[in-house]
Protein backbone atom coordinates (compact mmCIF):
# COMPACT_ATOMS: atom_id res chain seq x y z
CA UNK A 1 0.00 0.00 0.00
CA UNK A 2 1.38 3.40 -1.00
CA UNK A 3 1.52 6.15 1.60
CA UNK A 4 2.07 9.69 0.51
CA UNK A 5 3.30 10.61 3.93
CA UNK A 6 5.99 8.82 5.93
CA UNK A 7 4.86 10.17 9.30
CA UNK A 8 1.35 11.18 10.27
CA UNK A 9 0.50 12.59 13.68
CA UNK A 10 -3.18 12.84 14.49
CA UNK A 11 -4.62 14.80 17.43
CA UNK A 12 -1.69 13.96 19.70
CA UNK A 13 -2.27 14.87 23.34
CA UNK A 14 0.50 14.54 25.95
CA UNK A 15 0.31 15.47 29.60
CA UNK A 16 2.73 15.67 32.52
CA UNK A 17 0.40 15.16 35.48
CA UNK A 18 -2.37 17.72 35.11
CA UNK A 19 -0.37 19.89 32.73
CA UNK A 20 -1.05 19.46 29.02
CA UNK A 21 2.24 19.67 27.11
CA UNK A 22 0.92 18.83 23.65
CA UNK A 23 -2.63 19.74 22.78
CA UNK A 24 -4.16 17.97 19.76
CA UNK A 25 -1.10 18.18 17.52
CA UNK A 26 -1.65 17.01 13.93
CA UNK A 27 0.75 17.12 10.99
CA UNK A 28 2.29 14.93 8.30
CA UNK A 29 5.87 14.54 7.06
CA UNK A 30 6.56 13.61 3.46
CA UNK A 31 9.33 11.19 2.41
CA UNK A 32 12.70 12.87 1.83
CA UNK A 33 11.75 16.06 3.62
CA UNK A 34 13.93 17.89 6.13
CA UNK A 35 11.14 18.67 8.52
CA UNK A 36 11.83 20.92 11.47
CA UNK A 37 9.97 21.26 14.74
CA UNK A 38 10.70 24.65 16.22
CA UNK A 39 9.51 26.75 19.13
CA UNK A 40 10.66 28.44 22.28
CA UNK A 41 12.26 26.60 25.18
CA UNK A 42 9.76 24.43 27.06
CA UNK A 43 7.10 24.53 24.31
CA UNK A 44 7.02 20.72 23.99
CA UNK A 45 9.38 20.06 21.05
CA UNK A 46 11.44 17.33 22.70
CA UNK A 47 8.31 15.84 24.27
CA UNK A 48 6.78 15.62 20.79
CA UNK A 49 9.93 13.91 19.48
CA UNK A 50 9.96 11.45 22.40
CA UNK A 51 6.36 10.52 21.59
CA UNK A 52 7.06 10.04 17.89
CA UNK A 53 9.95 7.67 18.59
CA UNK A 54 7.83 5.72 21.06
CA UNK A 55 9.69 6.64 24.26
CA UNK A 56 6.52 8.05 25.81
CA UNK A 57 2.96 6.83 25.32
CA UNK A 58 0.56 9.62 24.30
CA UNK A 59 -2.57 10.39 26.34
CA UNK A 60 -4.62 10.54 23.12
CA UNK A 61 -4.10 10.56 19.38
CA UNK A 62 -2.15 8.43 16.97
CA UNK A 63 1.33 8.37 15.41
CA UNK A 64 1.73 6.56 12.09
CA UNK A 65 5.26 5.84 10.92
CA UNK A 66 5.62 4.38 7.45
CA UNK A 67 2.01 3.19 7.49
CA UNK A 68 2.09 1.60 10.96
CA UNK A 69 0.82 3.01 14.23
CA UNK A 70 3.57 3.06 16.87
CA UNK A 71 0.94 3.82 19.52
CA UNK A 72 -1.17 0.72 18.93
CA UNK A 73 1.60 -1.63 17.81
CA UNK A 74 2.37 -4.81 19.74
CA UNK A 75 5.96 -5.10 21.02
CA UNK A 76 7.24 -7.06 18.00
CA UNK A 77 5.62 -4.62 15.57
CA UNK A 78 6.93 -1.64 17.56
CA UNK A 79 10.47 -2.99 17.28
CA UNK A 80 9.98 -3.39 13.53
CA UNK A 81 8.88 0.25 13.28
CA UNK A 82 11.90 1.36 15.33
CA UNK A 83 14.17 -0.42 12.83
CA UNK A 84 13.05 2.18 10.30
CA UNK A 85 14.14 5.11 12.43
CA UNK A 86 17.35 6.43 13.90
CA UNK A 87 17.57 8.99 16.67
CA UNK A 88 20.24 11.53 17.53
CA UNK A 89 19.84 12.78 21.09
CA UNK A 90 20.79 16.22 22.29
CA UNK A 91 23.77 14.86 24.22
CA UNK A 92 24.74 12.43 21.44
CA UNK A 93 24.07 9.55 23.88
CA UNK A 94 27.05 7.55 22.64
CA UNK A 95 27.98 4.71 24.98
CA UNK A 96 30.89 5.98 27.03
CA UNK A 97 32.46 2.55 27.45
CA UNK A 98 32.79 1.98 23.68
CA UNK A 99 34.92 3.78 21.09
CA UNK A 100 33.26 5.48 18.09
CA UNK A 101 33.54 2.40 15.86
CA UNK A 102 32.13 0.09 18.53
CA UNK A 103 29.26 2.54 19.06
CA UNK A 104 28.34 2.36 15.38
CA UNK A 105 28.81 -1.41 15.32
CA UNK A 106 26.59 -1.87 18.36
CA UNK A 107 23.12 -1.76 16.71
CA UNK A 108 24.39 -3.96 13.89
CA UNK A 109 25.72 -6.53 16.34
CA UNK A 110 22.58 -6.50 18.43
CA UNK A 111 19.91 -6.39 15.76
CA UNK A 112 21.31 -8.22 12.75
CA UNK A 113 22.91 -11.58 11.99
CA UNK A 114 25.68 -10.06 9.88
CA UNK A 115 29.17 -11.54 10.24
CA UNK A 116 31.69 -9.50 12.24
CA UNK A 117 33.67 -8.51 9.15
CA UNK A 118 30.56 -7.12 7.43
CA UNK A 119 29.60 -5.23 10.58
CA UNK A 120 33.05 -3.65 10.79
CA UNK A 121 32.90 -2.72 7.11
CA UNK A 122 29.46 -1.10 7.40
CA UNK A 123 30.44 0.78 10.58
CA UNK A 124 33.60 2.07 8.90
CA UNK A 125 31.52 3.25 5.95
CA UNK A 126 29.13 5.12 8.20
CA UNK A 127 32.01 6.84 9.99
CA UNK A 128 33.48 7.70 6.56
CA UNK A 129 30.16 9.29 5.57
CA UNK A 130 30.33 11.65 8.53
CA UNK A 131 34.05 12.29 8.06
CA UNK A 132 35.27 10.48 11.15
CA UNK A 133 37.20 7.56 9.69
CA UNK A 134 40.41 8.75 11.37
CA UNK A 135 38.76 8.86 14.79
CA UNK A 136 37.14 5.44 14.95
CA UNK A 137 39.35 4.30 17.85
CA UNK A 138 38.66 7.38 19.92
CA UNK A 139 36.40 7.20 22.96
CA UNK A 140 33.40 9.60 23.05
CA UNK A 141 35.06 11.57 25.86
CA UNK A 142 38.11 12.19 23.66
CA UNK A 143 36.39 13.92 20.73
CA UNK A 144 34.89 17.40 20.30
CA UNK A 145 31.17 18.22 20.54
CA UNK A 146 30.78 18.41 16.74
CA UNK A 147 32.53 15.06 16.23
CA UNK A 148 30.39 13.51 18.93
CA UNK A 149 27.23 14.61 17.13
CA UNK A 150 28.52 13.33 13.81
CA UNK A 151 29.44 9.98 15.36
CA UNK A 152 25.96 9.80 16.88
CA UNK A 153 24.48 10.43 13.43
CA UNK A 154 26.66 7.62 12.06
CA UNK A 155 25.33 5.30 14.76
CA UNK A 156 21.75 6.41 14.08
CA UNK A 157 22.33 5.57 10.39
CA UNK A 158 23.88 2.17 11.10
CA UNK A 159 20.75 0.23 10.19
CA UNK A 160 20.00 2.42 7.16
CA UNK A 161 16.82 3.93 8.60
CA UNK A 162 14.27 5.68 6.42
CA UNK A 163 13.82 8.44 8.98
CA UNK A 164 16.36 10.19 11.20
CA UNK A 165 15.15 12.16 14.20
CA UNK A 166 17.60 14.74 15.45
CA UNK A 167 17.06 16.51 18.77
CA UNK A 168 18.79 19.90 18.74
CA UNK A 169 21.74 18.71 16.62
CA UNK A 170 23.53 22.06 16.70
CA UNK A 171 23.11 22.81 20.40
CA UNK A 172 26.43 23.57 22.06
CA UNK A 173 28.27 23.82 18.73
CA UNK A 174 29.98 26.89 17.29
CA UNK A 175 28.43 28.39 14.11
CA UNK A 176 31.06 26.88 11.80
CA UNK A 177 30.66 23.34 13.16
CA UNK A 178 26.87 23.82 13.18
CA UNK A 179 27.02 24.85 9.50
CA UNK A 180 29.14 21.75 8.73
CA UNK A 181 26.53 19.61 10.44
CA UNK A 182 23.78 21.28 8.38
CA UNK A 183 25.75 20.48 5.23
CA UNK A 184 26.08 16.85 6.33
CA UNK A 185 22.32 16.58 6.93
CA UNK A 186 21.61 18.12 3.53
CA UNK A 187 24.04 15.71 1.83
CA UNK A 188 22.58 12.68 3.55
CA UNK A 189 19.08 13.77 2.64
CA UNK A 190 19.97 14.32 -1.01
CA UNK A 191 22.21 11.28 -1.51
CA UNK A 192 20.45 8.68 0.60
CA UNK A 193 16.91 10.07 0.50
CA UNK A 194 16.62 9.91 4.30
CA UNK A 195 13.72 11.84 5.82
CA UNK A 196 14.90 14.10 8.61
CA UNK A 197 12.74 15.30 11.49
CA UNK A 198 14.76 17.84 13.42
CA UNK A 199 13.96 19.62 16.66
CA UNK A 200 15.77 22.92 16.68
CA UNK A 201 15.61 26.60 17.47
CA UNK A 202 18.66 27.49 15.47
CA UNK A 203 17.29 30.02 12.95
CA UNK A 204 20.34 29.76 10.67
CA UNK A 205 19.83 26.00 10.30
CA UNK A 206 16.09 26.40 9.81
CA UNK A 207 16.51 28.81 6.91
CA UNK A 208 19.40 26.87 5.41
CA UNK A 209 18.14 23.30 5.29
CA UNK A 210 14.48 22.98 6.32
CA UNK A 211 11.95 21.98 3.69
CA UNK A 212 9.03 22.58 6.02
CA UNK A 213 8.70 23.80 9.57
CA UNK A 214 6.10 23.64 12.31
CA UNK A 215 6.19 26.23 15.05
CA UNK A 216 4.96 25.16 18.46
CA UNK A 217 3.81 27.47 21.20
CA UNK A 218 2.29 26.35 24.50
CA UNK A 219 1.73 22.84 23.18
CA UNK A 220 -0.06 23.86 19.98
CA UNK A 221 1.01 24.24 16.38
CA UNK A 222 0.79 27.95 15.61
CA UNK A 223 2.18 27.79 12.08
CA UNK A 224 3.27 25.31 9.44
CA UNK A 225 5.03 25.95 6.13
CA UNK A 226 8.40 26.69 4.57
CA UNK A 227 10.76 28.92 6.60
CA UNK A 228 10.27 31.72 4.06
CA UNK A 229 6.48 31.47 4.37
CA UNK A 230 6.66 31.58 8.14
CA UNK A 231 9.03 34.54 8.33
CA UNK A 232 6.45 36.55 6.40
CA UNK A 233 3.51 35.17 8.41
CA UNK A 234 0.81 37.62 9.48
CA UNK A 235 0.72 36.25 13.03
CA UNK A 236 2.89 38.57 15.19
CA UNK A 237 4.33 35.71 17.31
CA UNK A 238 5.33 33.69 14.24
CA UNK A 239 6.82 36.68 12.49
CA UNK A 240 8.76 37.74 15.57
CA UNK A 241 10.06 34.22 16.20
CA UNK A 242 11.41 33.90 12.69
CA UNK A 243 12.77 37.43 12.56
CA UNK A 244 14.28 37.20 16.05
CA UNK A 245 12.33 40.11 17.48
CA UNK A 246 11.23 40.58 21.06
CA UNK A 247 7.78 39.28 21.97
CA UNK A 248 5.97 41.99 23.93
Amino acid sequence: MEHKFIIKITSLVAKYGKYTVLDKISFTVMPGEIFMIVGGSGCGKTTLLNHIVGLLPPDAGDIIIDGKSIVHAAERERLAILREVGVLYQSGALFGSMNLLQNVQFPLEELTNLPDQAIREIANNKLDMVGLSDFKDYMPAEVSGGMLKRAAIARAMALDPKILFLDEPSSGLDPIIAAELDKLIENLSQTLGITFVIVSHNLASIFKIATRVILLDQGKIVAIGSPQQLSGNADPFVRKFFNRELVT
Binding site: V85, P107, E110
Partner: protein, 370 residues
Protein backbone atom coordinates in the same frame (compact mmCIF):
# COMPACT_ATOMS: atom_id res chain seq x y z
CA UNK B 1 27.18 55.04 54.69
CA UNK B 2 25.00 56.63 57.31
CA UNK B 3 21.41 56.00 58.15
CA UNK B 4 19.35 58.37 60.31
CA UNK B 5 15.86 58.07 61.72
CA UNK B 6 13.60 61.09 61.75
CA UNK B 7 10.51 60.32 63.87
CA UNK B 8 9.41 63.89 64.56
CA UNK B 9 6.08 63.27 62.83
CA UNK B 10 3.87 60.67 64.62
CA UNK B 11 2.27 59.44 61.40
CA UNK B 12 5.38 59.57 59.31
CA UNK B 13 8.78 57.88 59.70
CA UNK B 14 11.63 59.21 57.68
CA UNK B 15 14.77 57.16 57.04
CA UNK B 16 17.58 59.29 55.68
CA UNK B 17 20.33 57.40 53.83
CA UNK B 18 23.60 58.89 52.70
CA UNK B 19 26.82 57.59 51.08
CA UNK B 20 27.04 54.23 49.35
CA UNK B 21 24.16 51.74 49.36
CA UNK B 22 26.02 48.68 48.15
CA UNK B 23 26.39 45.01 48.96
CA UNK B 24 28.70 45.70 51.95
CA UNK B 25 26.75 48.52 53.56
CA UNK B 26 23.37 46.87 52.98
CA UNK B 27 24.60 43.76 54.82
CA UNK B 28 25.07 45.97 57.90
CA UNK B 29 21.94 48.06 57.37
CA UNK B 30 19.37 45.41 56.56
CA UNK B 31 18.54 44.26 60.10
CA UNK B 32 18.56 47.83 61.50
CA UNK B 33 16.02 48.90 58.87
CA UNK B 34 13.78 45.91 59.61
CA UNK B 35 13.96 46.55 63.35
CA UNK B 36 13.18 50.23 62.89
CA UNK B 37 10.21 49.43 60.70
CA UNK B 38 8.75 46.89 63.12
CA UNK B 39 9.37 49.22 66.08
CA UNK B 40 7.65 52.30 64.62
CA UNK B 41 5.16 50.62 62.26
CA UNK B 42 4.57 53.97 60.51
CA UNK B 43 1.55 54.73 58.31
CA UNK B 44 3.84 56.55 55.96
CA UNK B 45 7.46 55.53 55.45
CA UNK B 46 9.66 58.04 53.66
CA UNK B 47 12.97 56.85 52.28
CA UNK B 48 15.10 59.94 51.76
CA UNK B 49 17.77 58.91 49.25
CA UNK B 50 18.95 62.32 48.15
CA UNK B 51 22.43 61.86 49.61
CA UNK B 52 23.03 58.42 48.10
CA UNK B 53 26.21 58.40 45.99
CA UNK B 54 26.02 54.83 44.77
CA UNK B 55 23.39 52.14 44.75
CA UNK B 56 23.78 48.56 43.46
CA UNK B 57 21.51 45.50 43.33
CA UNK B 58 21.66 45.04 47.09
CA UNK B 59 20.59 48.67 47.65
CA UNK B 60 17.69 48.25 45.24
CA UNK B 61 16.69 45.04 47.05
CA UNK B 62 16.60 46.92 50.38
CA UNK B 63 14.43 49.71 48.94
CA UNK B 64 12.09 47.22 47.28
CA UNK B 65 11.85 45.14 50.45
CA UNK B 66 10.83 48.15 52.55
CA UNK B 67 8.27 49.14 49.90
CA UNK B 68 6.90 45.60 49.80
CA UNK B 69 6.52 45.41 53.58
CA UNK B 70 4.59 48.69 53.69
CA UNK B 71 2.39 47.54 50.82
CA UNK B 72 1.58 44.24 52.53
CA UNK B 73 0.38 46.18 55.60
CA UNK B 74 -1.67 48.51 53.32
CA UNK B 75 0.57 51.39 54.32
CA UNK B 76 2.49 53.88 52.24
CA UNK B 77 6.15 54.04 51.28
CA UNK B 78 7.51 57.11 49.54
CA UNK B 79 10.91 56.96 47.85
CA UNK B 80 12.23 60.48 47.82
CA UNK B 81 14.81 62.01 45.54
CA UNK B 82 16.53 58.89 44.29
CA UNK B 83 18.92 59.88 41.52
CA UNK B 84 17.64 59.04 38.02
CA UNK B 85 20.42 56.54 37.30
CA UNK B 86 19.40 54.51 40.37
CA UNK B 87 15.68 54.93 39.67
CA UNK B 88 16.42 53.52 36.22
CA UNK B 89 17.74 50.33 37.90
CA UNK B 90 14.48 49.86 39.82
CA UNK B 91 12.42 50.49 36.68
CA UNK B 92 14.54 47.98 34.73
CA UNK B 93 13.96 45.25 37.32
CA UNK B 94 10.25 45.95 37.73
CA UNK B 95 9.42 46.20 34.04
CA UNK B 96 11.19 43.12 32.70
CA UNK B 97 8.68 40.84 30.92
CA UNK B 98 8.02 37.82 33.11
CA UNK B 99 7.85 34.40 31.56
CA UNK B 100 4.86 32.44 32.70
CA UNK B 101 5.77 29.35 34.64
CA UNK B 102 5.21 26.24 32.57
CA UNK B 103 4.46 24.08 35.58
CA UNK B 104 1.34 25.11 37.44
CA UNK B 105 1.52 24.74 41.17
CA UNK B 106 -1.31 22.86 42.72
CA UNK B 107 -2.05 23.50 46.36
CA UNK B 108 -3.24 20.46 48.22
CA UNK B 109 -4.51 19.75 51.68
CA UNK B 110 -3.31 17.06 54.07
CA UNK B 111 -5.67 14.35 52.83
CA UNK B 112 -4.60 14.98 49.24
CA UNK B 113 -0.94 14.84 50.26
CA UNK B 114 -1.50 11.54 52.12
CA UNK B 115 -3.34 10.21 49.07
CA UNK B 116 -0.44 11.25 46.86
CA UNK B 117 2.02 9.48 49.16
CA UNK B 118 -0.13 6.31 49.01
CA UNK B 119 -0.29 6.53 45.21
CA UNK B 120 3.51 7.01 45.06
CA UNK B 121 4.11 3.98 47.31
CA UNK B 122 1.77 1.79 45.23
CA UNK B 123 3.41 3.10 42.07
CA UNK B 124 6.85 2.30 43.49
CA UNK B 125 5.84 -1.26 44.40
CA UNK B 126 4.24 -1.70 41.01
CA UNK B 127 7.41 -0.41 39.26
CA UNK B 128 9.55 -2.84 41.26
CA UNK B 129 7.28 -5.78 40.41
CA UNK B 130 7.25 -4.84 36.74
CA UNK B 131 11.05 -4.58 36.86
CA UNK B 132 11.34 -8.02 38.48
CA UNK B 133 8.95 -9.48 35.89
CA UNK B 134 10.88 -8.03 32.95
CA UNK B 135 14.16 -9.08 34.57
CA UNK B 136 12.97 -12.66 35.03
CA UNK B 137 11.69 -12.77 31.44
CA UNK B 138 14.88 -11.30 29.98
CA UNK B 139 17.05 -13.61 32.12
CA UNK B 140 15.11 -16.62 30.80
CA UNK B 141 15.60 -15.41 27.22
CA UNK B 142 19.33 -15.13 27.84
CA UNK B 143 19.50 -18.56 29.50
CA UNK B 144 17.76 -20.18 26.55
CA UNK B 145 19.73 -18.18 24.02
CA UNK B 146 23.16 -17.27 25.45
CA UNK B 147 23.99 -15.35 22.26
CA UNK B 148 21.67 -12.61 23.48
CA UNK B 149 24.11 -11.55 26.18
CA UNK B 150 27.10 -9.34 25.38
CA UNK B 151 29.85 -11.54 26.78
CA UNK B 152 32.42 -8.77 26.57
CA UNK B 153 30.35 -6.70 29.00
CA UNK B 154 29.63 -9.76 31.13
CA UNK B 155 33.35 -10.46 31.70
CA UNK B 156 33.98 -6.79 32.43
CA UNK B 157 31.35 -6.92 35.18
CA UNK B 158 32.79 -10.21 36.47
CA UNK B 159 36.15 -8.46 36.74
CA UNK B 160 34.69 -5.43 38.53
CA UNK B 161 32.54 -7.45 40.93
CA UNK B 162 34.92 -10.33 41.61
CA UNK B 163 38.71 -10.01 41.30
CA UNK B 164 38.70 -6.28 42.05
CA UNK B 165 36.70 -6.90 45.24
CA UNK B 166 39.04 -9.69 46.32
CA UNK B 167 41.51 -7.62 48.41
CA UNK B 168 38.80 -5.97 50.53
CA UNK B 169 36.95 -9.29 50.97
CA UNK B 170 40.14 -11.10 51.96
CA UNK B 171 41.22 -8.37 54.39
CA UNK B 172 37.76 -8.13 56.00
CA UNK B 173 37.50 -11.93 56.26
CA UNK B 174 40.94 -12.25 57.83
CA UNK B 175 40.23 -9.53 60.39
CA UNK B 176 36.77 -10.86 61.24
CA UNK B 177 38.18 -14.36 61.84
CA UNK B 178 41.02 -12.95 63.91
CA UNK B 179 38.88 -10.57 65.97
CA UNK B 180 36.03 -12.97 66.66
CA UNK B 181 38.49 -15.65 67.87
CA UNK B 182 40.25 -13.11 70.07
CA UNK B 183 36.93 -11.89 71.48
CA UNK B 184 35.77 -15.42 72.23
CA UNK B 185 39.06 -16.56 73.77
CA UNK B 186 38.59 -15.30 77.39
CA UNK B 187 35.14 -16.90 77.77
CA UNK B 188 36.22 -20.24 76.28
CA UNK B 189 39.43 -20.27 78.34
CA UNK B 190 37.35 -20.08 81.55
CA UNK B 191 35.99 -23.53 80.71
CA UNK B 192 39.19 -24.87 79.13
CA UNK B 193 37.26 -25.20 75.87
CA UNK B 194 39.47 -23.12 73.58
CA UNK B 195 39.39 -25.75 70.82
CA UNK B 196 35.63 -25.13 70.45
CA UNK B 197 36.37 -21.62 69.26
CA UNK B 198 37.01 -23.33 65.91
CA UNK B 199 33.36 -24.50 65.96
CA UNK B 200 32.20 -20.96 66.73
CA UNK B 201 34.21 -19.29 64.01
CA UNK B 202 33.76 -22.09 61.45
CA UNK B 203 29.98 -22.24 61.81
CA UNK B 204 29.65 -18.47 62.18
CA UNK B 205 31.59 -17.81 59.01
CA UNK B 206 29.94 -20.46 56.84
CA UNK B 207 26.34 -20.03 57.98
CA UNK B 208 25.99 -16.33 58.76
CA UNK B 209 28.94 -13.96 58.81
CA UNK B 210 30.41 -15.07 55.50
CA UNK B 211 27.31 -14.55 53.35
CA UNK B 212 26.13 -11.48 55.26
CA UNK B 213 29.41 -9.58 55.38
CA UNK B 214 30.28 -10.36 51.78
CA UNK B 215 26.80 -9.12 50.88
CA UNK B 216 27.33 -5.91 52.89
CA UNK B 217 30.63 -5.34 51.10
CA UNK B 218 28.92 -5.95 47.77
CA UNK B 219 26.11 -3.54 48.67
CA UNK B 220 28.69 -0.81 49.30
CA UNK B 221 30.83 -1.63 46.29
CA UNK B 222 28.70 -3.23 43.62
CA UNK B 223 25.16 -1.92 44.16
CA UNK B 224 26.45 1.65 44.32
CA UNK B 225 28.64 1.18 41.26
CA UNK B 226 25.78 -0.35 39.22
CA UNK B 227 23.37 2.42 40.26
CA UNK B 228 25.88 5.17 39.45
CA UNK B 229 26.90 3.67 36.11
CA UNK B 230 23.35 3.03 34.88
CA UNK B 231 22.14 6.32 36.38
CA UNK B 232 24.78 8.26 34.46
CA UNK B 233 23.76 6.43 31.27
CA UNK B 234 20.16 7.43 32.00
CA UNK B 235 20.94 11.14 32.30
CA UNK B 236 23.16 10.96 29.20
CA UNK B 237 20.11 9.61 27.29
CA UNK B 238 22.00 6.38 26.53
CA UNK B 239 19.07 4.33 27.82
CA UNK B 240 16.70 6.29 25.55
CA UNK B 241 19.08 5.53 22.69
CA UNK B 242 18.90 1.81 23.48
CA UNK B 243 15.10 1.90 23.62
CA UNK B 244 14.79 3.65 20.28
CA UNK B 245 17.18 1.14 18.72
CA UNK B 246 14.68 -1.50 19.82
CA UNK B 247 17.12 -3.00 22.37
CA UNK B 248 15.68 -3.81 25.77
CA UNK B 249 17.76 -1.83 28.30
CA UNK B 250 17.19 -4.47 30.97
CA UNK B 251 18.64 -7.21 28.80
CA UNK B 252 21.57 -5.04 27.80
CA UNK B 253 22.32 -3.35 31.13
CA UNK B 254 20.85 -5.39 33.95
CA UNK B 255 21.04 -9.06 32.97
CA UNK B 256 24.84 -9.17 32.40
CA UNK B 257 25.45 -7.36 35.70
CA UNK B 258 23.22 -9.74 37.65
CA UNK B 259 24.68 -12.83 36.00
CA UNK B 260 28.21 -11.61 36.69
CA UNK B 261 27.34 -10.95 40.33
CA UNK B 262 25.75 -14.40 40.70
CA UNK B 263 28.85 -16.00 39.27
CA UNK B 264 31.36 -14.27 41.54
CA UNK B 265 29.52 -14.07 44.88
CA UNK B 266 30.02 -17.75 45.85
CA UNK B 267 33.73 -17.40 45.03
CA UNK B 268 33.95 -14.22 47.12
CA UNK B 269 32.21 -15.97 49.99
CA UNK B 270 34.63 -18.88 49.75
CA UNK B 271 37.57 -16.46 49.90
CA UNK B 272 36.01 -14.63 52.82
CA UNK B 273 35.62 -17.89 54.78
CA UNK B 274 39.10 -19.07 53.85
CA UNK B 275 40.73 -15.86 55.04
CA UNK B 276 38.46 -15.76 58.09
CA UNK B 277 39.65 -19.22 59.07
CA UNK B 278 43.23 -18.14 58.43
CA UNK B 279 42.72 -15.20 60.81
CA UNK B 280 41.20 -17.54 63.37
CA UNK B 281 44.11 -19.97 63.02
CA UNK B 282 46.60 -17.18 63.71
CA UNK B 283 44.99 -16.68 67.15
CA UNK B 284 44.62 -20.43 67.74
CA UNK B 285 48.28 -21.06 66.94
CA UNK B 286 49.19 -18.24 69.35
CA UNK B 287 47.18 -20.16 71.96
CA UNK B 288 49.23 -23.28 71.19
CA UNK B 289 47.01 -25.26 68.82
CA UNK B 290 48.52 -26.96 65.77
CA UNK B 291 47.15 -26.71 62.23
CA UNK B 292 46.26 -30.39 62.39
CA UNK B 293 44.16 -29.91 65.54
CA UNK B 294 42.52 -26.84 64.01
CA UNK B 295 41.56 -28.64 60.79
CA UNK B 296 40.35 -31.78 62.57
CA UNK B 297 38.09 -29.72 64.82
CA UNK B 298 36.87 -27.71 61.82
CA UNK B 299 36.10 -30.87 59.92
CA UNK B 300 34.02 -32.18 62.83
CA UNK B 301 32.20 -28.89 63.37
CA UNK B 302 31.31 -27.72 59.89
CA UNK B 303 29.15 -29.98 57.74
CA UNK B 304 28.46 -29.79 54.02
CA UNK B 305 24.89 -28.62 54.73
CA UNK B 306 26.31 -25.57 56.58
CA UNK B 307 28.39 -24.64 53.57
CA UNK B 308 25.47 -25.21 51.21
CA UNK B 309 23.18 -23.14 53.44
CA UNK B 310 25.63 -20.25 53.24
CA UNK B 311 26.04 -20.72 49.52
CA UNK B 312 22.29 -20.51 48.87
CA UNK B 313 22.16 -17.39 51.01
CA UNK B 314 24.97 -15.56 49.23
CA UNK B 315 23.45 -16.50 45.88
CA UNK B 316 20.15 -14.87 46.80
CA UNK B 317 21.93 -11.93 48.47
CA UNK B 318 23.94 -11.36 45.30
CA UNK B 319 20.79 -11.40 43.21
CA UNK B 320 19.06 -8.91 45.53
CA UNK B 321 22.06 -6.54 45.68
CA UNK B 322 22.68 -6.48 41.93
CA UNK B 323 18.94 -6.18 41.20
CA UNK B 324 18.40 -3.33 43.65
CA UNK B 325 21.50 -1.49 42.40
CA UNK B 326 20.41 -1.76 38.76
CA UNK B 327 16.79 -0.85 39.59
CA UNK B 328 17.86 2.37 41.30
CA UNK B 329 20.12 3.16 38.35
CA UNK B 330 17.23 2.73 35.91
CA UNK B 331 14.92 4.82 38.12
CA UNK B 332 17.38 7.75 38.16
CA UNK B 333 15.62 10.99 37.34
CA UNK B 334 17.36 14.04 35.89
CA UNK B 335 20.63 15.80 36.67
CA UNK B 336 23.92 14.92 38.32
CA UNK B 337 22.34 15.14 41.77
CA UNK B 338 19.92 12.35 40.83
CA UNK B 339 22.84 9.97 40.28
CA UNK B 340 24.02 10.65 43.82
CA UNK B 341 20.52 10.07 45.16
CA UNK B 342 20.20 6.78 43.24
CA UNK B 343 23.57 5.57 44.47
CA UNK B 344 22.68 6.29 48.10
CA UNK B 345 19.24 4.71 47.71
CA UNK B 346 20.80 1.64 46.09
CA UNK B 347 23.07 1.05 49.09
CA UNK B 348 20.39 1.78 51.70
CA UNK B 349 17.74 -0.36 49.95
CA UNK B 350 20.23 -3.21 49.45
CA UNK B 351 21.11 -3.23 53.14
CA UNK B 352 17.44 -3.17 54.18
CA UNK B 353 16.63 -5.95 51.73
CA UNK B 354 19.60 -7.97 53.03
CA UNK B 355 18.34 -7.81 56.60
CA UNK B 356 14.82 -8.80 55.52
CA UNK B 357 16.02 -11.68 53.34
CA UNK B 358 18.42 -12.83 56.05
CA UNK B 359 15.51 -12.87 58.51
CA UNK B 360 13.46 -14.99 56.10
CA UNK B 361 16.42 -17.39 55.73
CA UNK B 362 16.74 -17.68 59.52
CA UNK B 363 13.08 -18.73 59.80
CA UNK B 364 13.21 -21.08 56.78
CA UNK B 365 16.44 -22.77 57.98
CA UNK B 366 14.97 -23.14 61.46
CA UNK B 367 11.83 -24.77 60.12
CA UNK B 368 13.80 -27.02 57.76
CA UNK B 369 16.32 -27.69 60.53
CA UNK B 370 19.19 -26.85 58.22
Amino acid sequence: MTFQIDDSDQEKLKLVFSGRLDIDTVAKLWDSCQLTLSKYQPHILVLDLKAIDYCDGAGIALIQNLQKQQKQLHKTCIVKELKPEFQHLIDFIEHQPHQNSVQHEFTSNLSEQLGQIAVDVVQDISDNLIFLGILAYQSMLVLFNPKRIRWKDFWRFVDITGPKAFPIVALTGFLIGLISTFQAAPSFQMFGAEIFMVNLVGLGLTREMGPLLVAVLLAGRTASSFAAEIGTMKINQEIDALSTMGINPIRFLVVPRIMATLLVTPALEAFFILFGLLGSFVVMSYLGFTLDAFLTQLHQAVKVKDCLGGLVKIFIFGWVIAGVGCLHGIKTRFGAQAVGVSTTQAVVSSLIMLVIVDGIFAVVYYVLQV
